[in-house]
Amino acid sequence: MEKTVAPAAMVKFGTTQRKDAWWAAPTATVAVLTLFVIYSMVRAFENNYYIAGPYLSPFYSPLLLFDWWPLSPAFLILWAPAGFRFTCYYYRKAYYRAYAAHPFACAVGEPHRDYQGETKLFLFQNLHRFFLYAAVVVLFFLWHDVIKAFSFGGHFGMGFGTLVLLVNTVLLSGYTFSCHSFRHFVGGNVDCFSCAKAGRVRFKLWKGVSSINEHHMLWAWTSLFAVMAADLYVRLVACGAIHDLRIF
């Protein structure tokens, strides 16, 4: 193959003929993701203020307290959702673009030349499905927490915190079940629905998951904000900065 002649000489980072604000979206991604990582680290290390009345912070759920574990219990479970998000097909796009600038934006020059994609070290991204299994288990506990959040000293009730946890868990469920690996699992791996076992059911399932998978990015961001907001709410109530509003 003959060598490409670059008419526009796009060899340096950021070189492009694009005239729109191509830098805006990845910059925002960097800002928000960085903020989230810092916040969650601080909260995980804090090892305090994660229970407020019937509410348990999603960062600490399920709450695993063992004598032999010297660190915050958050670390015993956070690997699952963190791994799930880190290997998520959407987040991969977001951080490869925003942090690695591979590419920072479409048709914009990249800063460095060494590129291996998802080969070699990055083969671990193939573990996404296993993180999915773990995330589903965690999700099971989060729903359990939501049910508990309706119980105030043995009486059925609802506070603002209940709503916060409910919304968070709904969004997390949306995010988890719109996962590409899940979509593959329920039917994506079938070539011929009409000849496969339980093909019609799998087709319907696959269709359903596909329709929410289309909005996987939206689920990813909203659930990210929700989980942060839920934890923050629990923390603020727990440390007494605010009071939980009882609805009934």
Partner: protein, 243 residues
């Protein structure tokens, strides 16, 4: 109607430069109309590849204001006014002349794909079996996805990477309800699927709105994972003797 300045790349493999052409504009006009005006009245030898002028053949791919696009469906009123409009050839392929590139590499890649092989049982095929694949078969081979893909564009991995267009083709074959060729080795080792980091630029530029990343590439990655990176499946297969 006022004139708009078009900065059009003129040159060949040895290099070149953008030349300004003033073009009178009319309502509903697209970039390709402007280039035809330039050919017809200002520069008869301006090289442009085009054919149907209806976004069905995928010939008139170029970079308009820095974005890979079909010139026949890029309307002037969708571009910022009051500024010149730049038109360059696709960056990823060698320039032959002006806006025409040598895209023959794509045809070479296509030849290497293990072909369709039908199950010989005259089986019925239902709409639910073809829905997915029909999306991939909308591809008009404009190669804009190949152009924008940074693996080819920035890292020039043409030797080891088939590119989004051919992942779409591979997905169409792999998910074909009546095909029996096994392409998993090819996918993992020869197609360069692992080099794709699913950053979705291909999907963004696709004029046929094929969800290249979500519906073709990621499912292929999952199939490769099924086959090569899933110990659980492997254990299952050992125990139950299934594939």
């Amino acid at each position: 109607m006022p004139d708009v300045t078009f900065k059009v790349f003129r040159g060949d493999a040895k290099g070149g430069q953008a030349i300004d052409y003033p073009v009178p504009i009319a309502p509903g006009m697209v970039v390709l109309d402007a280039l035809h005006y330039i050919q017809g009245y200002l520069a008869p030898d301006l090289a442009v590849r085009w054919n149907c002028k209806a976004a069905k053949c995928g010939s008139c791919s170029a970079e308009v204001n820095g974005k890979p696009a079909l010139m026949c469906k890029t309307r002037l009123d969708s571009l910022p006014t009051g500024r010149p409009i730049t038109v360059y050839p696709m960056k990823t392929f060698p320039v032959i002349k002006d806006l025409v590139c040598d895209v023959s590499w794509n045809y070479d890649v296509n030849k290497k794909i293990p072909p369709y092989r039908p199950a010989k049982d005259g089986r019925k095929i239902y709409q639910e079996d073809v829905d997915r694949v029909q999306e991939f078969r909308k591809c008009i081979e404009c190669f804009l996805c190949q152009d924008v893909c940074h693996v080819l564009r920035e890292h020039e991995k043409k030797a080891e990477f088939a590119g989004p267009r051919f992942f779409v083709r591979l997905a169409g074959l792999e998910m074909h309800p009546n095909d029996i060729t096994d392409r998993s080795e090819f996918l993992k080792n020869s197609s360069g699927l692992g080099l794709c980091n699913i950053t979705k630029c291909c999907t963004e530029v696709c004029p046929e709105e094929i969800h290249i990343t979500d519906n073709a590439i990621i499912p292929l990655k999952e199939r490769v994972a099924d086959r090569f990176f899933d110990p659980l499946r492997w254990v299952f297969a050992k125990i139950f003797g299934r594939k």
